[in-house]
């Protein structure tokens, strides 16, 4: 989707026109908007992350400074949350890929000759988008609650100890992240698998490759653009998410992620520099991962 659309731009360019002042007029309002409301806020965030408290000031009063200490303080206190965020996001991304790939393959390849079935199934994949993210997550909380059917069943067959819980654990948070981002994984996978030329698969089989070898050597490489954009579209929002890990949703204080710390510091404790420093750390790590990942996977024309 989004990421592949940018990757494919080289192929859609048409003959250049000369009147570049028209381009300027077309670009100026939108680009100016992004400079004012995306770029400038990022710079404010960097400035905020170095601020120092006003001497004898109230809570939430800060002044310009160059306080590197904010970063060491933030990481010193919250490093487990930072690690947990990337760990949870990584596990959720791998799980979502495992769940989504067969779905996308069936809709994109097997159901190709049945357009009606294909569009019905695609509608079902995006159906969760039409109901609030928060309500979906709360629904899972109720379903997995201690009185709910799943916990009762797991206790009956003794998988879960009689005093065990599902909600508030790492399991439920990762489950929630995986569930919530499955459509983001399935759609880009579908977009590339739908264009997969099945004659390549037949050629592989004709050359005595086992179905698994065909899958590994032909299908997976050909669907790489979808795998890349799907994993990025899942990993990035999952790493920054704080709904699933929130105490009122699927998490508890022992599952808090970096997003929870940013929210608490910014909106509750009014410790803006710490929140800003954590945001910059999160953003920097994600940009490094995206950069390495995209270079490794060979789509350098992503932007």
């Amino acid at each position: 989707m989004a990421f592949t659309a940018f990757a494919s731009q080289a192929t859609v360019e048409q003959a250049p026109r000369k009147r570049s002042w028209i381009a300027l007029v077309l670009l100026l309002p939108g680009i100016a908007y992004l400079v004012l409301f995306f770029l400038a806020p990022l710079i404010s965030l960097i400035i905020t992350s170095f601020q120092q408290p006003v001497l004898d000031g109230d809570i939430g009063e800060y002044t310009a400074g160059f306080q590197w200490q904010n970063y060491t303080d933030a990481l010193g206190e919250y490093w487990p949350l930072v690690l947990r965020s990337f760990g949870f996001a990584l596990i959720a991304t791998v799980l979502a890929l495992a769940v989504s790939y067969p779905i996308a393959y069936f809709i994109g390849v097997k159901a190709r000759r049945f357009p009606l079935l294909q569009s019905l199934m695609l509608t079902l994949v995006i159906a969760p988008f039409f109901i609030s993210f928060l309500l979906r997550t709360l629904a899972w909380k109720q379903i997995m609650s201690d009185e709910g059917p799943i916990v009762q069943f797991l206790k009956t067959i003794a998988i879960l100890p009689s005093d065990g819980h599902l909600t508030g654990t790492a399991f439920s948070v990762i489950f929630g992240l995986t569930y919530n981002f499955i459509p983001f994984m399935t759609l880009p996978l579908y977009a590339t698998l739908e264009r997969l030329d099945t004659r390549y698969l037949e050629a592989g089989a004709d050359l005595y490759a086992s179905p698994f070898t065909v899958f590994r050597k032909v299908t997976v490489p050909l669907s790489m653009p979808g795998i890349i954009s799907g994993t990025l579209l899942t990993f990035i929002p999952a790493a920054g998410d704080y709904i699933n890990a929130s105490r009122d949703f699927l998490g508890s204080s022992s599952t808090a992620m970096v997003g929870n710390a940013i929210e608490a510091n910014f909106l509750v404790l009014q410790n803006y520099p710490i929140a800003a420093a954590l945001s910059i750390v999160l953003m920097a790590v994600i940009l490094i991962i995206v950069g390495l990942y995209v270079r490794r996977a060979g789509t350098e024309d992503l932007v």
């Binding site: 940018f6 731009q9 859609v12 360019e13 048409q14 026109r17 570049s20 028209i22 300027l24 077309l26 939108g30 908007y33 992004l34 409301f37 995306f38 400038a40 806020p41 990022l42 404010s44 965030l45 067969p102 393959y105 069936f106 097997k110 569009s119 199934m121 509608t123 994949v125 969760p128 039409f130 109901i131 609030s132 993210f133 928060l134 309500l135 979906r136 709360l138 629904a139 899972w140 379903i143 569930y179 499955i182 990035i236 929002p237 790493a239 920054g240 998410d241 704080y242 009122d248 997003g259 940013i262 929210e263 910014f266 909106l267 929140a275 800003a276 945001s279 999160l282 953003m283 940009l287």
Partner: protein, 266 residues
């Protein structure tokens, strides 16, 4: 093709899709729950919650705010994004790669960072948070998605059609409004729907930039600490049904148009 293998995959896909629907079904069923303040255990069937939606303090106001914010930021983001998309496909200019990067970055930035960044900026400028700041924030994160969606449509547009318009002495304005714009309309409509959906369901960025104003997702977040009233499920179910009907109508009409076209050509 091997039928057995396809069958196993088909069964898996159906089960997986049903799994995706579980929370939706749960939300819908519990909109009919005859519960008091806490809508957790099933108490019996009632239509009451559908009839008394606005009796919950602040709920309908929050919902109205979400619609308002969604509409205004959709119009703004769609207009700004469409212009950028046309420029990117049709014109060659310097700084092209920096502009692509500027469009890509908001999509690669976690929402919590976008939200905290804007909040830090509003704090520095002393801007009071409210509906305006929510709209400014939503427009920002929708623009890139509009560009991506509309760009594909601009790229598939045959420039000869516009040339024909110019050859027939159409002014640039006439060529744009009579030829380019109608041909881009499906892409623009898709981008607008996507923007509205993104804005309507956004919580994280809103939470950082809304001050005391509630939107529908923020109402849910605050209520989650105390227990969600069933009226929330009513609104969510109604929005869901409306959206699904819209999607099905669009798909059926598209399929019908494709069939008609195929018959005319065949």
């Amino acid at each position: 093709m091997k039928f057995g293998k396809g069958l196993g995959l088909g069964i898996y896909t159906v089960l997986a899709l049903l799994f995706l629907l579980i929370p939706i079904a749960y939300t819908f069923v519990f909109s009919f729950n005859d519960a008091g303040k806490l809508n957790i255990a099933w108490q019996g069937f009632t239509f009451d919650k559908w009839l008394t939606v606005c009796s919950t303090a602040g709920l309908c106001e929050a919902f109205g705010n979400s619609i308002l914010v969604g509409l205004v930021s959709t119009v703004l983001a769609t207009a700004l994004g469409t212009l950028i998309a046309i420029a990117l496909v049709r014109y060659r200019f310097r700084a092209r790669s920096s502009i692509s990067l500027l469009l890509f970055l908001p999509m690669a930035t976690p929402e919590v960072v976008l939200g905290a960044g804007l909040a830090a900026q509003f704090l520095t400028l002393g801007t009071e948070k409210g509906l305006l700041t929510i709209i400014l924030a939503h427009t920002m994160f929708c623009i890139s998605f509009v560009v991506v969606t509309v760009k594909a449509r601009v790229a598939s547009l045959d420039p000869a059609l516009e040339e024909a318009g110019r050859d027939l002495y159409g002014s640039p304005g006439q060529v744009f409004w009579r030829i380019t714009f109608p041909l881009l309309m499906p892409g623009i409509a898709a981008a607008a729907l996507l923007s509205f959906a993104l804005s309507f369901d956004d919580f994280i960025i809103t939470n950082f930039n809304s001050g005391s104003v509630d939107t529908f997702p923020k109402f849910i977040y605050i209520a989650a600490a105390r227990g969600i009233p069933a009226q929330v499920n009513v609104i969510a179910s109604a929005v869901f049904l409306l959206a699904i009907v819209l999607v099905i109508v669009v798909q059926v009409s598209r399929a019908a148009r494709a069939k008609r076209l195929a018959r005319q050509l065949g």
